[in-house]
């Protein structure tokens, strides 16, 4: 591109792909009023779930992704849940500003990131592992219908592809 900056390639991710069963997990799930332990399965039992893993709340990619999700109104069509290492309190703050009708899983130890093969060890933040940007559209049987995982850092979902996948449900 000739631009004077570095987009870092990330190692290949061994993540759940289309047709796989999305690994179940339980973490505190935050809405605008409270948080409680919820399993992914308890959400998919109620219908399709768009699981959006993102960098910690406050990082600009997290902000951009939620702005776009709000603009596209995905929460009107499917259950939209975020996933990051941020604490429940930070999630409450995020939901105060964006993420209308969405809920956020708090995974500070990045155990779900490990389970999903989307860990990202942050350079210059020793000891901090977070989720690389990733989107999984998971149906009511917990089968993955669409999957995207960042291959570079930073990287953003192809929102039109996600739109199409939601339409195809």
């Amino acid at each position: 591109m000739g631009l004077d900056f570095d987009v870092v390639d990330l190692p290949e991710a061994d993540h759940p792909d289309v047709g796989d069963t999305a690994p179940d997990f339980t973490r505190p799930l935050v809405d605008e009023e409270f948080w409680e332990d919820r399993s992914l399965a308890s959400l998919t039992d109620e219908g399709p779930v768009l699981l959006v893993a993102h960098p910690m709340d406050g990082a600009f990619p997290a902000t951009y992704v939620w702005n776009e999700i709000d603009d596209r109104g995905w929460a009107d069509d499917v259950t939209v849940v975020g996933l990051s290492i941020s604490s429940v309190y930070e999630h409450k703050d995020l939901l105060g500003e964006r993420g209308a009708d969405a809920r956020l899983f708090s995974d500070p130890g990045a155990g779900v990131a490990a389970e999903y093969g989307i860990e990202h060890d942050l350079d210059g933040m020793t000891g901090v592992t977070e989720h690389r940007p990733a989107v999984f559209l998971i149906d009511g049987d917990r089968t993955v219908q669409y999957a995207w995982v960042a291959e570079t850092w930073p990287d953003f979902p192809n929102y039109d592809d996600v739109d199409a996948a939601i339409d195809d449900l």
Partner: protein, 86 residues
């Protein structure tokens, strides 16, 4: 569908009054679901909606259809309702 326990405890992280209720629930081996709310009183509308007050702890017991707040009241209620089965 995951089975949801009949008792829901609205609590605040690190609140000793809430822990008192938790101890009692554990003592009687009662299954409960924890819902954590904000430290800021004004941000606890969910608790106000279910119990009429913004104070925690508050419990909703679907076994008896009862909702109540204040740890002393809750502990007394749990003793009366479940103490005999302990």
């Amino acid at each position: 569908m995951t089975d949801e326990p009949p008792i829901t405890l609205y609590r605040l992280q690190a609140c000793p009054f809430c822990e008192r209720v938790v101890r009692k629930l554990d003592e009687y081996g009662l299954e409960y679901r924890s819902r954590f709310v904000e430290p800021m009183h004004s941000d606890r509308n969910v608790v106000k909606r279910i119990s009429g007050k913004r104070s925690v702890p508050a419990i909703v017991d679907e076994n008896t259809g009862l909702t109540m707040s204040e740890s002393g009241n809750i502990v007394e209620y749990l003793e009366k309702t479940y103490g005999g089965e302990a």
